[in-house]
Symmetry: C5
Subunit: 354 residues, 5 copies
């Protein structure tokens, strides 16, 4: 629950640019995996040694360098130094409460964004941060833990499917972003499914648990929103940056990505509106039920309270109560009470309370 | 219900530009129908063979090429390749969850938008996607199923009514957009009718079903809104694009279209506000009814509970209760109780509870 | 009620520029009235023949040509053709669901806006559309029915009051707009009066009718808002248009008009906020009343239910109930019950329920 | 109450620029008071003759000309004509429903704004309009009635305190504006005090009067808002106007004024939010109280209703009821009922209803 | 409570630029402390004599001059005069109700912002104002009281940790701002913790205190918001100012700061949304409880009221009531009543009230 509302104060008082990992350690050991590819060649390697990836900065082929696990801050520092990254950017990579953003420098582009994962059982949205650095001929990808999300992309590189092997590092960057944004729709679909389930529940038998579900989902949608909104502006800035690293050819792809981001935002807003509407509906249906209960009580009470009064009268012990001695008085009273009860029922029906 | 809140994950992990139809198959077989016309001539043809329409790209007359059914993706791919459409645009044509948008390229203009259909019985808004490509001398129209909506336009072409036969392909594009936007008003009118019906219901006898109706309509209006809002920006972009395909003569028509789109948005917002107001009214009228019920209960209970207590007193079996032996005690008690009851009624009336 | 939420579908499927009158016929026959004036001369004429006003296009004096009644579409068409108006503008003149707007052409300016009329008895806002065309030396005014609103302006022209006779057609246009916008304030004042009346009602004796009144007024304010908001932008566009028809001298007047429009919007927004606040107040005061009723019930019930139990005890028929035979038992029980009742009242008062 | 929701229709139908005073007459007779000062000299005069101030237009010293009372419209007209003011501006000076605004002309600057006065007893915000005209070497100030607000400023001029005597007419203008804006804070502080008082009340003993207070205060804050919001834009326009009358030296002062206006808006928004929060709190605390009352009723009723049933059983007159004859039956029944009551109380406590 | 809603009227009527301290005296005596440092040297001094810091204006090293305690206005005036600060800025330094802002002058930059301190026990946000003046080679810092917040920064200067000793005064300014903004996150984390605690409470046992807590926290978040929002614009203005005092090197740091400010705003907005959601949840859970109580009452009452009526019948004293004499009548009645009770319970269960 605390995952997104918390902010780390580990860093308070440290000099700016101090490298501190603000997350939980999700991976045992830092791991480097490299894919170095061109139209014709492909080289893959894995290592725990940070220096193993240094040479790829200067290969003419496109290198996709993935760093998994961010808690070994000195290694990250060594890496970013080698690739000439500004210390504040290194700090941003390690600070996993970063807002999605794009920063364009002369010789590299920095992008940080969120991978979302709606877990069906707990109905919580898990959030991992991914930071990307696009340089000349390489993409550095920093992630907190191994993400299976990118497996299809790796496969496409390996099998040279689509145009990926023929394109430059900016297309690789786009392909990674595209995977992440497309994954949002998987999450959104699951949330939509969940909303529909709750909706059906609401119509048939609303109970307090439904309310808790709505509240929870609202909160999760709130976090989703917070993670996706800034993305729109970030991608737009990427598209409009006149960086030499972003080639002309890639612009239509980025525009497409931008459309997807807007579409994701649209559907988050729709989910929000639907959940608000459902909350209203729940509250009204609860108050409807209460109404029914109240009506029941009123009908029973208003019929029997006067009748009980009548029988009370003839239970009094006065010596002089002539009615008591009349032969058919008892039946007369019973009949009278029956008439009163029927009369009241008719009146209720006329008042539309029944 | 799921029609608009769902997002397809069929495409997750595929390379960008992969042609996947994300909708349900609404038409048995892909069908091509072509109208090729000029001021003096008209040629109509229908076919299931995708290549049959290829020659029309280069005729000097204006060609309106309609492709119905989007599930045969290879045929669509062949067509878009022939007409020189970017693969990402082809992808957008097949992805029926597309947001309305306009993209202007050097030699064609791409427009995608929604045809709405409010079904009176189910009170659901059906949404079909239509994509249009305006090229030099032709308009390609991709639709999920046969839309009777365009019949009046076809008739105008056939009978050479209005100026359509004398104008270029950009006027044809405008005429198609105009039909779609005008059709929104047909839907909006039906929704307005529905709102009025509910309103009358609300005034006379609100019941929980009314609430469900309001909620449903709100949700449908939400979807309408989502489909119409982006259109405004799209048309504005079309108007301001300095594409050679959009001639000077067509600008006033596009501005008119833009006005219509804003008017549609206006009336959607009004419907939303009215529905919100009706929800408030419903809730208040329900709580009013509850109030009346409660008052009834209170009046009956507060009158008879004390009286029942009094008759209880004289039902006690104490040996020494002198009143019991007085000759007119019974009548005195009856009279006293009557006085109490009347007094209470007067008091209630003074307190304005009756 | 339907007056503003409805949209006409009479026009669906017709070619753009088709002249169809979308309103109800409010006037028996189309009527033309012309005022042709200069600093020194004034000529007035009335006619049912549309061609009678054609010569005024070219007189050097300023001509104010009023066309009343829009259902005779061919006549309107003839007129607009003579004055060189674009067919889409003619269509807008006849479509009375038009949003207020300004369109500036090379040789004329088109303005359409609403005349509002809050009817005190029905508390409904009547809406008439007025379209104006400012040409070189003339103003064409199209209205659905005779509006008494413009009588003071006609009188000013006749009596050469103010500067109107010395000014050009753009001043006439401004004077007409000024009258219409000033008339909004008359409506707004009536609505304000109504709000005040309801407010007083609310404080003294809220009832469900008040709620209905608030709801109604809210809806009317909604329609007012829809008619007035776009005006602001329209006037601003008029002011900023560099049309030769709008002379330098008229700019301060238009700026003044713009200020009035903003002021009208301001007061509509205030009315909306007040009505929302009143709704809250109403709901709270209703729930307050309910609270009082509930308290009453609780007090009566909690006092008498235990007492009735006590008298019930001594109404039991057990053979061995020694208390029944004690001489003063009856009085003791009465005294005890009295003490209980007083004790409870004191306790309620301490709990601040009384 | 009507003071701010009303709009005058006195002016409807009159030619633009007609001078009509739309307010109530707050001052018996129009009065002119002039302060003519330079670094070394000071001349003060008071008069009822409008022409007495005409010469000050052309003195080389700075003249502060105050006109109090706006109902003698011909005198105002004579004055504005002499000073070369546009008739529409004269109209704005007399129309006290004006929105705060700034208009910059070639040889004068017009500013109109509101003086606010929160009256503690009635909790109503009194609104007076002040219009200012900054000319070359003079400031004309039009006010509805004598405002004691400006006394400290007059004193500063007389005693040559601060830099006022050494500065030009634009500094005088600023000093007047500064006084008015600073006075807003006095009002806002009083409203804040009031909010605090209500807040304390809310926590201890909320009653319906509190609700009325909150509603009233909300309405007043609404009016404040309406008077202060446009000021921000007006001052900003003044600062950015490149009028020769606004010297370079005065810009930091205007920027400071702008900051104050924003701060006033900020605190109005805060007050609004606090009042909304208080409304929620009030409603919840009322519903909490109701809950307690309901619980009380339920507990009493659910304990005694079954017990009353039991004693009713033994009050029946059947001949064959063996229990009645048992010797300790009475005590047994009493004991049984006591046990039931205790059991229920324990059960209620377990359910956390007690 | 009044700390942030109050505005001082101490200053009303004084000339602009009058130095008045509008806060409470939080420090006994004004104190000056100076750190004068360069890459190689460091000089620290403390004094109560204001003139002691005057020479540092002209030292070539970077001087960090802290003035603690703002109530001795003449001393502040002497200081600001010496450093050539505009009187309006001096006024702003002393006016602790200032909105966060940046003002860029030719030879200095003025920044004012808030230090926030959420006190866990009282759940109140304490607000101190800090004003900073960046000049050529010095930073003046004005604070109301000694802030322990800056101790880590002082330590970094002393121990020459990070790059601070090698950088200019603009980096010092940045470092101070960074500390303050980072401290916001410490506060926000504490508020988040608090929100979580309340949330857990809400789920298990909501009580009126929870409501008060939510309301309080909402109010505090409101104040936080008011203090943090304007910061965003202020930092952005600082970044975009082309002041010679802000060197090129510092821009990435300011951009980073800007990101932090946005992140703080983001999380404040999230807290607001969460608190609103919790309020809804609280209200619903309270109404749920009420529902349960009502059901209880209804069930007890609807079962026993009819039964009590039945026993009342046989408590009547009519002479001719044949049933009374039947031998097993008593048991028959008991059995009948038992059946009725069971039947009702079954019916309730079917209606899902149990």
């Amino acid at each position: 629950m605390s995952r997104s509302t918390r902010y780390s104060n580990k860093k308070f008082g440290l000099p700016p640019g101090s490298l501190v990992f603000t997350g939980r350690k999700k991976t045992e050991q830092l791991q480097i995996s490299v894919m170095d590819y061109g139209p014709e060649q492909l080289e893959e390697s894995q290592s725990r040694d940070i220096t193993s990836c240094f040479p790829f900065r200067d290969t003419s082929a496109t290198s996709w360098i993935t760093i998994t696990g961010l808690h070994e801050t000195e290694k990250i520092e060594a890496l970013t130094k080698h690739f000439g990254i500004h210390p504040l950017i290194s700090e941003d990579i390690l600070n996993i409460q970063q807002r999605p953003k794009v920063e364009v420098f002369d010789d590299y582009v920095f992008i940080t964004l969120k991978i979302l994962d709606f877990e069906k059982d707990t109905r919580l949205v898990g959030i991992d941060q991914v930071s990307l650095i696009l340089g000349n001929g390489y993409v550095l990808m920093f992630q907190e833990q191994q993400e299976s999300l990118f497996d299809p992309l790796r496969k496409r590189v390996r099998e040279s499917k689509g145009r990926i092997r023929r394109m430059n590092s900016d297309y690789l960057l786009y392909a990674i972003l595209d995977i992440i944004v497309d994954h949002y729709f998987v999450n959104l679909e699951q949330i939509s499914d969940h909303i529909e389930t709750i909706e059906k529940h609401l119509m048939t038998e609303p109970d307090p648990k439904t309310l808790n579900e709505i509240y929870r989902l609202k909160r999760e949608v709130l976090f989703l929103r917070k993670s996706v909104w800034p993305l729109r502006e970030a991608i737009s800035r990427l598209e409009k940056s006149e960086s030499a690293l972003i080639t002309e050819k890639i612009i239509p792809y980025l525009r497409d990505l931008y459309d997807h981001a807007i579409q994701a935002i649209d559907s988050i807003e729709t989910s929000r509106d639907l959940l608000s509407g459902m909350l209203d509906l729940y509250l009204s249906s609860v108050s409807n039920r209460m109404n029914q209960v109240m009506k029941m009580l009123t009908i029973i009470a208003t019929i029997f309270i006067p009748l009980t009064f009548i029988v009370g009268i003839y239970g009094m012990n006065f010596e002089n109560m002539p009615e008591l001695e009349w032969h058919y008085a008892y039946y007369a009273v019973l009949g009278f009470m029956f008439t009163v009860a029927i009369g009241m029922l008719i009146w209720f029906r006329k008042k539309r309370w029944l």
